[in-house]
Symmetry: C2
Subunit: 217 residues, 2 copies
């Protein structure tokens, strides 16, 4: 499969959504779909869908549409789901434990290899077969587990210091739930931010606008 | 304060970030800041910051910069943080409990008034003084609590049905952790999606690219 250079960030961000939708269609036994039908289900225009998939070589056939199994497997290949990335999770508080307990890491292309926490009452326990290690042993354990990604579920100040510790240990990408802006000080790593409190504030802002402003937002 | 019409979605999405950064500066005792300094701290250009804040009337003074307390309070007003929105949380699984336990709803402009769950072992308990109700009592309790927003921490199929139940009960906005695309079937409500698994897949995609592609993403 051919990945065009300079594929935009917004196309890349839509790929996981295509993958999810196609997976659901597959599960429900649908074999093929036109870009028009897919567009109705996904709330995108058919031309947008054709453009997006063209960035990766284009898999549709005129008059036939997309073979769902094929397209699903192509996108799986592009996303690299089968090539698992070792990931560690930092912070076994409420949010960290929730992510460790409910996220299907394998289905998303990752293998959770360790959880780090400072609370001695949690250290040594396991979440779904994954060990909680003492954060003081970060270097030793990372040397052994070779993670290249980390999920940050710690407060901002802890995040700042732990990121500085993690990068020399080989971490190249972060899923960041903290409010620490990693990219400002470390431009050489990939960061996906999940700022839940910002989403709350944005929703609140929208809800407080007069009704007739909805279409402007 | 004047809010210009047609303020773009991306400006609105940056407001919570301004609010957070300014709050931290306030806490650390800083009194004023130039758009240049703020830009360095936030990783935006100074001209971007001036443009953003101009959308809401502009509060800077040439040669003086921004008075942080004033700007923080203006943005707080624009976001409407002090005008609390009653919100319910649906689904007291790992993620729902994490959100209910760690999110500072008040600081984000919300009041969590109730949690709904089907598991009888959880119903009747409280999380930080907020009652867990039986999902079967949704209508009765919502009539009493008058929420206008809901946080969805349930699987896709449950989300679909519960959204249909919630909208007639007065819910006008959703913070959506499920994979159900609310906007497709309900264009009349505000939705903020937090798709954690999509963020994982996007991060994975980026990590798997050859090093020299980083600048393209």
């Amino acid at each position: 499969m051919t990945i065009k250079h300079n594929v935009s960030d917004s196309v890349i961000r839509r790929l996981p959504r295509y993958y999810r939708f196609l997976g659901e269609l597959l599960d429900s036994g649908v074999e093929r779909i036109s870009s028009k039908e897919l567009s109705l289900r996904m709330g995108l225009t058919a031309s947008q869908i054709r453009q997006d998939l063209n960035c990766f070589g284009g898999f549709g056939q005129q008059g036939y549409g997309y073979n769902i199994a094929e397209l699903h497997s192509e996108i799986e290949g592009i996303l690299g789901i089968n090539n698992k990335i070792n990931v560690v999770l930092i912070g076994a508080g409420n949010l960290g434990l929730a992510i460790a307990s409910y996220m299907n890491f394998k289905q998303r292309g990752f293998k959770l290899v360790g959880i780090f926490e400072k609370d001695p009452q949690k250290v040594g326990k396991k979440i779904r077969d994954v060990q909680i290690y003492d954060i003081c042993d970060l270097e030793k354990i990372c040397d052994k587990l070779s993670p290249t990604a980390a999920v940050l579920c710690v407060p901002k100040d802890v995040a700042k210091s732990v990121v500085s510790d993690l990068i020399p240990l080989g971490i190249k990408g972060f899923l960041n739930f903290s409010h620490y802006d990693i990219s400002l000080e470390h431009s050489d790593v990939y960061v996906e931010n999940v700022h839940i409190s910002d989403s709350f504030m944005t929703l609140g802002f929208k809800l407080r606008q007069p009704d007739n402003h909805k279409e402007d937002l």
